[in-house]
Subunit: 194 residues, 2 copies
């Protein structure tokens, strides 16, 4: 293959879920449709506009994300997730009207991720200052999720806030993303106080 | 989703073989790795450098493709393919040392593609002027491929050139791309004179 094609193939196969054959199909499609290549290029350039919400850690284009800026949301509830891309999954259920807090990962002794790497003190600070009445933990039901949940519970219990976790409707041993909207909605409704 | 993320998702789901879930995985990967996004953006920009070889229609960065520029190749044999991305598949077999000719499609009454749309007169002209002794048709073994092969045969027979087609090692009713290297190599070796 000539360099411009080979370079694009190399960049594409590094992406998750894209093998050599898929990358080739994409490249030949883009060669046939220069407008699609230009649109993709433009969209990639715009990606640098994505920042993190300074309050909750969600993706944002401004200082605060659209959820934190929405005064109509329940300001007394915070749902804790590991990653910002899990927020749209929970939003789609329509079962939650409160705020979020993004940890950016989970506590993992194996991968040397401790509480200090997740900025958990920011969550504690929010609960202390924002009049939070309930913190819902929407973490995966695997070892790291449970470990993180236990740690957060220990930090927040002394503050007198209700700490709950979403029901085990989330398939055990799988990522949060593998649950459909209905399952996630039920998991939210069936949350249990810890 | 915020606009920069949604725009990139929209551009990605238009690509062949990429659904919404795959697109989301790619976007969150790129958000986590800005260098990968920059590399992809750069590679897309470079795609405009890809031209078509003025002799055979293969992808090229110069006026002629690397195969047409290689004086060591057998200049008396032309292998006819429908699309430029089929050339690397045939090259990988190592079973062919001649030249190529890219039609850019196949004759299709249903999709209103006629011989004039494929520039078949350019192939006839090449055979007439380049001292070609054999034209190998490497077209898919479906209706449109057969129709195109028959048309080319009628055009070239009067010129006294040998016209052959690759053996039916190519799976019947499938794209050329679905054949592995071994099958394509055998198909080339087992070609039959028409």
């Amino acid at each position: 293959m000539i360099p411009p094609i080979e370079n694009l193939l190399s960049a594409l196969v590094k992406l998750p879920g894209i093998g050599r054959r898929s990358a080739e199909r994409v490249v030949f499609y883009l060669l046939a449709k220069p407008a699609a290549a230009a649109a993709l290029q433009q969209a990639l350039a715009e990606l640098s506009r994505v920042k993190r919400c300074q309050r909750c850690g969600n993706f944002a284009v401004e200082t605060l994300c659209s959820i934190c800026e929405d005064a109509g949301r329940d300001q007394t509830t915070i749902c804790v997730v590991a990653h910002p891309w899990e927020i749209p999954l929970l939003e789609k259920t329509g079962a939650y009207q409160g705020l979020y807090h993004v940890l950016g990962g989970l506590i993992s002794p194996a991968r040397k991720v401790g509480p200090e790497d997740l900025g958990l003190e920011r969550l504690v600070e929010r609960v202390r200052t924002e009049g939070t009445q309930e913190v819902i933990l929407a973490l995966e039901s695997k070892a790291e999720g449970d470990l993180t949940a236990m740690y957060i519970l220990r930090q927040l219990k002394p503050l007198g806030v209700r700490v709950s976790q979403i029901a085990q409707g989330v398939p055990v041993g799988r990522d949060l993303e593998s649950a459909d909207e209905l399952t996630l909605g039920r998991a939210l409704k069936g949350r249990t106080t810890l």
